[in-house]
Amino acid sequence: MPDPNGPSASDGGAVLRFRDVTKTYVSSHLGRTRTVRGVSELDFEVRRGEVFGLLGLNGSGKTTTFKLALGLLSPTQGEVSVLGLRPRDPRALAGLGFLPELPWFPGFMTPQEILRFYGGLSGLPDAEIPGRVARVIERVGLGAAAGRRIAEFSKGMVQRVGLAQAILHDPALVVLDEPVSGLDPLAIKDFRDLLVELNAKGKTILVSSHSISELEKLCHRVGILKDGRLARVLQAQDWSGGLEERFIETVRPAGGAA
């Protein structure tokens, strides 16, 4: 369970910062142009050493927010910075690890082969890669399965490989999109423990999940997205065991069902 107060901005500043960020998608079909707002006027920061959760209904803008942070999308308006740099700056990317929702790896490969590949792409020196791979495999609890093919793995084990590739290069910020999606309760518990341990070792974590109870157990702060806007940012002491209620009262339309 994290410290309910969490790290403050004075602990070393923001690792990720959104300043008045709006993303509009423009598509045209048969001469008709359609614009859709992904997110509007997002303004928040993720502080060094904290676990920040993003919560929202489907279509609320969580994926767009993540993609903006990862440099996979560019803001239409406003500014995003990762470690004080533009998200697509190679120095920012070197300090970032990302686990997508339900990652896929070729079934014939072993975790060792996969991690060696991603280690090389992360810019790790060749001589350093085998040692790092072995350590991170142990850290995510796959030591006994390191030489087995991914095709033989359960969903939870694949997710651990996904986490291993995200932390292999020792990034300052780890971004996790729905990390416990599709996992059984035991795998969820193991995964949560891993994230708590990572955070205890100084990693800043940005995580999205539909599992309110997981965010409640893991996060120092939670941002609630509604219709592409950051409706509310809650600190751990604000929800004190009742994050679900805070979430529902935030996203439910006045006088109606969510």
């Binding site: 996979l72 990317l93 590949f117 792409l121």
Partner: protein, 258 residues
Amino acid sequence: MRAVLLLALNSWVENLRNRFFGLVLAFAGTVLYLSMLLGLLASDQEVRVLLDFGLGFIELMGLVGAVYGASTVVLREMESKTVYMILTRPVERSSYLLGRYLGLMLSVGGAMLIMAGAHVFMLVLKGWAFRPDYCWAFLGAFLKVLVTGSLALFLALSTTSALSALSITMIIWSLGHFLPEIRLMVRRFGSDSTLLMAPLQAVSWVIPDLQLFNLRDRLDLPAGLAQCVPVGSWLVYAAGYCCVWLVLSSALFKRKEF
């Protein structure tokens, strides 16, 4: 450069260990074997028919693999989310594209080489005396595949679907074999009707001259044709064309949002 090599090698290993790759090779082997029946229909020209059909088939298989692979590589990696795990590392987008292209071409080239080995073996069994011209004809076919593959990659990034990229590439591939005729038309009628000929003139500059690499048609010339093959100009022409399409593809890919 390291990222390019890692990505190329990764693509190559993935393709090599892909079940589909084995199936394609098995299919190609069967068709090449069955082509011996075709040879029986033209008993006086048996070797000639086998030579023509085999080389044509190898080129076609290479072309299908390269065009399909290049048209779908980014799309497939977006679906599997692999592209997100790669582009959120300090990897230039142009390196990603070049690495995947080289890996694909390495796989296709390898498959064509295996098919050519089987083809030569069958021809020798039929009493054909190996000629170096075969190697040049094979090189010409591979260069065609390289050029067409780079074009397919560009079209896949500039059109809205893989299907349209595939269709347009195949149209350009067909036109590329008639380029000398198109150029002749422009020369003959250009002065009479400038308005009509202007699009053809433009087409003759944009479309690659694939007939240039078509040594297959000349394999029945006397032995020693190899001395007349302008390999240097082939390589320069193919490299130039591939570079143009790959640079344009990189420019598009840098602006691509995911």
